[in-house]
Amino acid sequence: MSLHLWIIPLLPLAGAAINGLLGKRFPKALVNTIALGFTAAAFAMALWVAAQFAGLSPDQIPHIERYATWLSAGPFSAEYGIYLDQLSVIMMLVVTGVGFLIHVYSVGYMEHEGGYYRYFAYLNIFMFFMLTLVLANNYLLMFVGWEGVGLASYLLIGFWFLKKSTADAGKKAFITNRVGDFGFLIALFLLIKHFGTLQYDSLWPLVSKYPVESGAAGLLTAIGLLMLVGATGKSAQIPLYVWLPDAMEGPTPVSALIHAATMVTAGVYMVARSHLVFNRAPDAQMAVAVIGTLTAVFAASIGIVQTDIKKVLAYSTISQLGYMFMACGVLDYVGGIFHLMTHAFFKALLFLAAGSVIHGLGGEQDMRHMGGLRKYLPYTFWSMTIATFAIAGLPPFAGFFSKDRILWSTWSSGYHVLWLLGVVTAGMTSFYMFRLWFLTFFGKYRGPNPETAGHTGAIHDAQDAHAIGGGHGHGSPHESPFVMVIPLMILALLSFVGGWVGVPHSLAGSDRFGAFLSPVFNEASATPGTEASVAAESKPEAEDHGEELAFSCISVGLAALGFVLAWWLYYKRPEIPERMAKAADGLYTLILNKYKIDELYGAVIIQPLILLSTNVFWKGIDRGLIDGAVDGSAAGAQETSDAMRHMQSGNIRSYAGWVAVGAAAVIAFMVWRGVR
């Protein structure tokens, strides 16, 4: 049975092609009809496929469709094909669903922007590459999607490319990702060298024959670590996370779609997809867990002091991605993907709501100039509230179930230090999110006075070159149009109920998400005929739920503590934070400057590279050697010609003389050699 899955990625590609090639002449209504139409069609098709998928019997999963051979070189070949299992179904639904909502939102958000058709063409092409990434049936095709989403990300970060910082942010994202891609590519080369294939279905049986590399690190550890390098680039983990905060220069819906909900989770997806490799490489898996945890706590600490609303959310994204890696590292892939899904809902919502705030304020992003906005933007306020509670991990919102699952599996796998860091991060998450919430929506409005803001609105636009406004005058803060508010409401609903699919047994739930997804990570079913050597998912069912419940209470308690602290510091006594910042001036400045990691990279990596390039490659090799050779041969030719020029005197008799001398020379030569 064929489900014609190839249609799903091609639908947004068609939208991108039409808008990208012809959209310049289209009216805006036509552009967004095309972009939304194709995305909606992809989502509808994804839903239909998911319904069909539910009807498949377990031995028909994974459902693989092969369309053509893409390339073959000797014994190696890669296909165009689609690999549909529970994991890719979830990813497909998240990408098309959240993607569609963000397309809808963009119609309102980008209304006053130039390059409208370009924006939607890029957004559609992102959807195409992301779907290629999650649906591919081999690593090479996945890599195409992997690079493609990087390209789309670059294009969309640099959407307002006339502003230098925006163009730089795009370049930074692209180049940082290249560093990670390098690791991923080497991992793929190793796979080709040792297994001769990148097709999932033929690779898994070969990989599963390998024993667990518990004593000495071996091939699979190397592959796992290199894949992790790739994942740190794409998913913004230490040490390659630096591009994501800068990526906030792009339009806010892009931040929501690419830099929160979907693209940055590609690394998590890749690690989960490669679970057979990581299961056999404890060192690599340990590295995943440690990097994830460190990133989570590190980014959360930066998020606490940021004042730009989008920057807070960016660091929060990095931190949440850290949780997902932490889950994958302790072999709770289900938890990682569960958090990926709930995070896609609430983080997309947070960004869209933040975008709605920015839109309502005419481009203002600094939280110090907000405050009291719940009166002006009621819908945004309520959806933001749900998202904030969800990310803070308060029950019964979505984030609680997924985050708690991760923390519990970290503890129960014996990584107690990582658990502690994770729980601290949970408290910090709650604190900085409620700080954002209080600063934005409570207290007094600290922006320009609404009554007299008619003329100061212009200053806002000037302050921020990519202000949303320009088209409409910005008096007092105002609620966004319905085309933006409706996606907020849908995402708010999802952030509220999205976690209920995975209510754990300890809370008398049935964990249907886990039951649905775990066959993917169950080794015996993934590789029929081989002994399942690793107990990845097998948590004993008859576990004592009391302990798990206690741990849930700890994390909820910390989240509540974060809430109270934020309430105390930013609502009740808003003068305290300033005094605290003054008291701990050095530390505060250090964190405000993001631990000066950008400066460190600049000094350690970028500056030496620039010096090397300038002095050796540019001035030495390029200008000295290559230009020298070219210029030298040109100058040589000129000198020679200059000397030879005098032979062309224009004097007939001298020409005749040369002819005579030449003839005489020829004759002399012939006489000397002896004429034959």
């Binding site: 062309q648 005197s649 224009g650 004097n651 007939i652 008799r653 005749a656 003389g657 005579a660």
Partner: protein
């Protein structure tokens, strides 16, 4: 019978005279005559070889050379007249418009 070498030496002398005249003289008509002298020097060696080898080929060549020389004389003189009309000189050193 006169030996072949005599003819060849005479031919070489005639040719050398032609070359020398061509190189030394500035008057275009003299140069033109020098060319004819060279041609006839060559013709002489052709007929000499033809007589020596008892072959008609050399004679045929000479006829061709004469025909070409006649044609060349016609064209050449026409050019000389045209040059004289425009430049009012026959000195080749002053006919140097193509010189850079």
């Amino acid at each position: 019978m006169v030996p072949l070498s005599y003819y060849l030496v005479l031919s070489a002398i005639l040719f050398a005279c032609g070359v020398a005249g061509f190189l030394i003289k500035r008057n275009i008509i003299t140069i033109f005559l020098s060319i004819e002298l060279m041609l006839n020097g060559v013709n002489l060696s052709f007929v000499a070889f033809a007589a020596q080898l008892k072959s008609l080929d050399g004679h045929i060549f000479v006829f061709f050379v004469m025909v070409v020389a006649a044609a060349e004389a016609a064209v050449g003189l026409a050019i000389i007249i045209a040059v004289f009309r425009t430049r009012e000189t026959l000195n080749v050193d002053r006919v140097n418009l193509l010189k850079l």
